[in-house]
Subunit: 360 residues, 2 copies
């Protein structure tokens, strides 16, 4: 194997090599202090500075307004599926959900355990191959929020424009945070598991409007209240220090490379190379409808499952790894988040052309 | 600063240097596969092998019986404080708690949010300077379990012998797991935040008897059910991969160094050196009663708070770091978990003798 392969995994995913190298050094001896980063007390001034910097960079890159808290929590997006209704909905209240894939469905399930999920749109009967356009659904007057998943990792679809509603928006941005400019003031909560576009697995970034912190009922356990974490700067208990540190490093890398707008431009470029290839032939077929195509996860099929298996194996042998689609839809998927290099996309396209020539 | 200082932090804490060096290498290129450890998909065969090995080693080192699951969860011990009553108690049921310090108190608070905590003993009126002996308390017939904290990090106390009860035991072993042999068959649940004796912050190891998995009420969100995680081998959602990997490395190190019994012997030796020093003079005074002394966290005071501040600063300047006691009791604390080297304890004792000579 070469020193570095191209890793198309959907998450945990490719990270910038600079981030890995810095982490490699700091783990053994942080700032030449004679102590490893993961050995630092979370209350030490060294680690507090790491966490503060990570938060500041998230705020800066995403232009987070002052009346929003940025939290570093544990438990993944899956825990947010429950925490959101637990904090925001009484048992007789409801939130509106757009069912655009597996992760939306899971969020709907949790909302229905705690309160009521009003599903205003579903693309399930077309194997989630698109997201709704404005006007395809309506949000009930008595709904507390409109919940959606900005990018659907499994199906390779993405909201190009954010839904517009007079209700507050709540978004799972696990797989496209830091890849697009957003107007956070329209949102009550934005959350993202870090392991796709922000860092390693083990931390969830939650951006929450401050007035929502007081809505949790008295019966909610301490760790499940956003307020607990907001009041203590995400240090109510020992936080996932290493993952937070890595989020800080990734944010530094994003900033050094031009910020979110530069990421968006490069992501669009990379995705276009791949979609142009797919559109240029009948051998490869994109799963997502054109207007719903994701810039993060490119899903496609070959003429047969056998050819797909062969394609994935031959690609891996050439250092193009992790191209297998999610088990729920099969096929192939190339995840090309911010940190995925353009050269890897070019190499994949060259491989696709060669594979088509040899097998059609 | 030297390449490596002695880090007496209570957690996150000192890890074996071999573990740090291996992690440093694997983060950039895991098994020479051309991909960093934290970039591996959690469903890849490489990471599955890492997680399986970590679980096997925990099972082997702690002699976990076959009818117990070993889970790697997120959210720290603080989340377990709530998950335990949420999974095991109906609103009208109760668990018995021994209040031996801050962490026990927090667990009691959560149990009272969800059901009822019956506090059978408290050492709060003596600043938690001891743990109860067998016979100091009784467990009500209608209690579902007896909950206790095996080692109290803040106060430096520890149960030398585990409580005996006909009810199942539930133990927070965050700060002394892997440091002592235990008969797990007496326990319903044992849990431990990894960041003291098992690894970095970001993962909680939960050992749970299988018959308890079905006790959660239908109204409990998916991520808060132990069964969710048990059924999926801790892979229901993306787990904290790096922290699990490190737990595996720490377990390998424990095994290579003789296992839990060898750790217990070495821990007793290290603690004795420090307690003997404290007992040999009136300048230093131990906080914990002799029969409750912790082998993990040695708490002590100097003649005045001013001398304590000076002591902590001068020690740090000599590379003996993190000796400040918890803000709730002040004074000094030396945390000397499994991975803390004996030489660091000897150096601390030499410094203590020198400091006493210069300041008494």
């Amino acid at each position: 194997m070469p020193d570095r392969i191209y890793n198309f995994s959907p998450g945990p995913a490719t990270l910038p090599q600079e981030v890995l190298k810095q982490a490699s050094k700091d783990i053994v001896n942080f700032n030449d202090k004679g102590i490893g980063l993961i050995e630092l007390s979370h209350r030490s001034k060294e680690f507090m500075a790491v966490a503060d910097e990570a938060e500041s960079l998230v705020r800066e890159l995403l232009e987070v307004p002052d009346n929003y808290k940025v939290l570093f929590l544990q438990g993944g997006a899956s825990t947010q599926f429950a925490m959101i209704p637990m904090n925001l909905l009484g048992a007789d209240q409801k939130g509106t959900y757009l069912n655009t894939g597996t992760w939306a469905k899971k969020a709907i399930k949790e909302a229905n355990i705690i309160a009521q999920a009003d599903v205003a749109y579903s693309s399930e009967d077309t194997t989630f191959n698109h997201v709704p356009a404005q006007g395809d659904y309506s949000v009930a007057d008595d709904s507390e929020y409109l919940y959606f998943v900005t990018n659907n990792t499994i199906y390779g679809t993405q909201f190009k424009d954010m839904p517009v509603s007079d209700k507050m928006l709540i978004a799972d941005m696990s797989s496209d945070i830091l890849s697009r400019k957003i107007d956070i003031s329209k949102f009550g909560i934005i959350f993202a598991g870090a392991q796709k576009n922000m860092g390693p697995a083990g931390v969830t970034v939650v951006i929450i409007r401050e007035d929502l912190l007081d809505r949790a009922p008295e019966t909610l356990p301490t760790m499940l209240r956003y307020k607990t974490h907001a009041d203590k700067g995400s240090m109510f208990n020992t936080p996932p220090c290493f993952a937070i540190y890595c989020v800080g490093l990734v944010c530094k890398w994003v900033k050094a490379n031009g910020g979110v707008e530069a990421m968006a431009k490069m992501d669009a470029e990379k995705a276009a190379i791949l979609y142009d290839m797919i559109d240029s032939t009948d051998f490869y077929k994109g799963h997502a409808q054109q207007d719903s195509r994701s810039l993060m996860n490119v899903t496609f099929n070959l003429p047969s499952p056998e050819l797909e298996t062969q394609f994935i194996a031959e690609a891996a042998a050439q250092g193009l790894d992790g191209l297998k689609g999610h088990r729920s839809i099969g096929g192939c998927r190339a995840s090309i988040y911010n940190a995925f290099p353009k050269q890897g996309v070019l190499d994949l396209v060259a491989f696709m052309q060669e594979f088509e020539k040899n097998n059609s």
